[in-house]
């Protein structure tokens, strides 16, 4: 499950990337909505947000482009959006616009389960998924509560930290995910730090999906100079990860 930054460097290219990722066999795509002050993101995704916003990307452009091209893609799309953006639109307007554009759900990295009641019931009302996150610092009983509140899938953050490629994933990760998996019927997708075929081989058996963000965004960094080269480099990475998945 790839993560791509919307509008880096423009929405037409983002659309091309999603098309290519679908052709390669990705089962879902996460579209990051650029935000000026992303606290959970490492330097690679931050820089991509800065580039997109530097090119004056507006929220409406994201919705318009996705809606225009949505019919070409068979995989579900989920939006990754900071709550500052959702609040400014009004949660219900945001949900309606995202749904109309063709998103199946939204991940809000800074909306804790305690603060999410209103958003959560609006999502239910409009049959839209609100994906909640569990992290290594989440105590077990809280993780179960978060799983209960989540819909679509549960996002398991692999590391205590920000997004970005890691050489190694933390010890005990497989066990922690396995424990939660045995206690919820919700699919669990793991994200943060995943960038190598070894990671995929390690985590595929305990999860329903693996989210790869910074590694892909880094491949796409040079798109402003050569779109084809950037696409090629991202395709190679994604193909190698999918091959690792299929070898399981």
């Amino acid at each position: 499950m790839p993560f791509v930054t919307a509008g880096d460097p423009n929405m037409a290219f983002t659309s091309k990337v999603i098309t290519r990722l679908g052709q390669l066999g990705c089962s879902m795509a996460e579209v990051g909505f650029p935000y000026s002050d992303p606290i959970a993101d490492g330097p690679v995704i931050q820089a991509s947000y800065t580039r997109a916003l530097g090119n004056k990307l507006k929220l409406q452009q994201i919705f318009d482009q996705i809606q225009t091209d949505r019919a070409q893609w068979s995989m579900p799309l989920v939006a990754m959006v900071s709550y500052a953006i959702i609040h400014r639109q009004g949660p219900e307007s945001f949900i309606l616009a995202a749904k109309q554009a063709g998103f199946s759900g939204v991940i809000v990295p800074d909306l804790l389960v305690e603060e999410s009641h209103a958003m959560s019931s609006l999502c239910r009302k409009h049959d839209f998924n609100l994906v909640q996150l569990v992290t290594p610092t989440t105590p077990p009983e809280r993780a179960l509560r978060i799983a209960e509140a989540s819909s679509g899938f549960l996002y398991f953050v692999s590391v205590t930290g920000i997004t970005g490629e890691r050489a190694q994933l933390p010890e005990g990760l497989v066990e922690r995910v396995g424990w939660l998996k045995s206690r919820t019927s919700l699919p669990i997708c793991i994200g943060f730090g995943i960038s190598k075929p070894e990671h995929v081989k390690l985590l595929a058996p305990v999860s329903d999906g693996l989210i790869v963000g910074s590694a892909i965004v880094r491949c796409l960094e040079s798109a402003a100079e050569s779109q084809e080269q950037a696409l090629q480099s991202a395709s190679q990475l994604v193909s190698s990860l999918i091959a690792a998945l299929e070898s399981q």
Partner: protein, 415 residues
Amino acid sequence: MSTVESTSPSVTPTKAQASMQVPDATGRFGDFGGRYVPETLTRALDELVVEYQKARRDPDFQAELDELLHRFVGRPSPLYHAKRLSGMLGGAQIWLKREDLNHTGAHKINNTLGQALLTLRMKKTRVIAETGAGQHGVASATACAHFGLPCVVYMGAEDVRRQKPNVFSMRLMGAEVRAVESGSKTLRDAVNEAMRDWMSSVEHTHYIIGSVIGPHPFPQMVRDFQSVIGKECREQCLSSIGRLPDVIVACVGGGSNAAGMFYPFIQDTSVRLVGVEAGGRGQIAGEHASPLSFGSPGVLHGSYSYVMQDDDGQTSDVHSISAGLDYPGVGPEHSYWKDTQRVQYTSCRDDEALGAFDLLARNEGILTALETCHALAKAAQIAKSMSKDEHLVICLSGRGDKDAAELARLRGQQW
């Protein structure tokens, strides 16, 4: 002046009374505040709530902090009657609450010592902090040197340039200063970078937030630590003037000196409270840093409060001549006080603040921090419209030595 009504001396009637019993258990001041952060930080914030509540009830904690504030910081800070300035302006008697005389030269140390003590109680072994003007960075470096804690301070690259003396002081006390090159290279970006550090280090690191901003419990905790300003001031007014003052004026960036000064007076409705934001070069978005005057409620840095944002929810660029006020957000309790009309918020332009610097330097022999100069400028205007038997207090939140080089640069003078 950016707003006209603010110069009127009349007391604004209060509606739906502001309560001192805020925030609630979820960190809400009315609608404002709360906690909008990644799940990763929740456990540490919950632990902080528990530890802080325990410390508040622990007489030993309070005694240790009071002792430090007395012998290390030099509290109580004087309430000084600026007679020459008062006479010159010809209006109200002007009193200065001299937070600039604290060790490290500003009010920031009141908070960092409290939070450093909490760091030790939580058995955390490292401290991070953000800073704008560098005063909070210096106060954090000081508290950490005092307790032997390693300290990393994030500071926007633009602020590193314009507040060099403070950068040097932090390094002298063993702190590591990391210049932040992203975004506008100012306080907002320093907060982002400190939050990112904390995302990875939260298990052993405490983040000493320097203002009444951020996720619950920071706005409450920082207000409480800074309330020593208002508590002392209230007693000093009663003993020096024989009654409460008519007006109190403080500058507002994130709003910690103002929150600490105002909070103990919230129920004294005869006292008019005025918060002064940075009006920068004018009222057009991007030219000022006045979210309470010109912004609208939104989410930034972990809480819901007035903020400068565009229609998409992206944080707007702001401007102020003073690094400490150059911030697009403000503490949630100020938003609460604004909406309950307990505090009047107004703004003061760069050039007015610079004028106020000279006013106090030449007439009282005090060099004032550029942040504080915003409060001075507005207070001077209000004082002129008051009578000689009325009393106005200014929270003199910091001293101006740090700004000397920047002032020279702005005026094209040799440094």
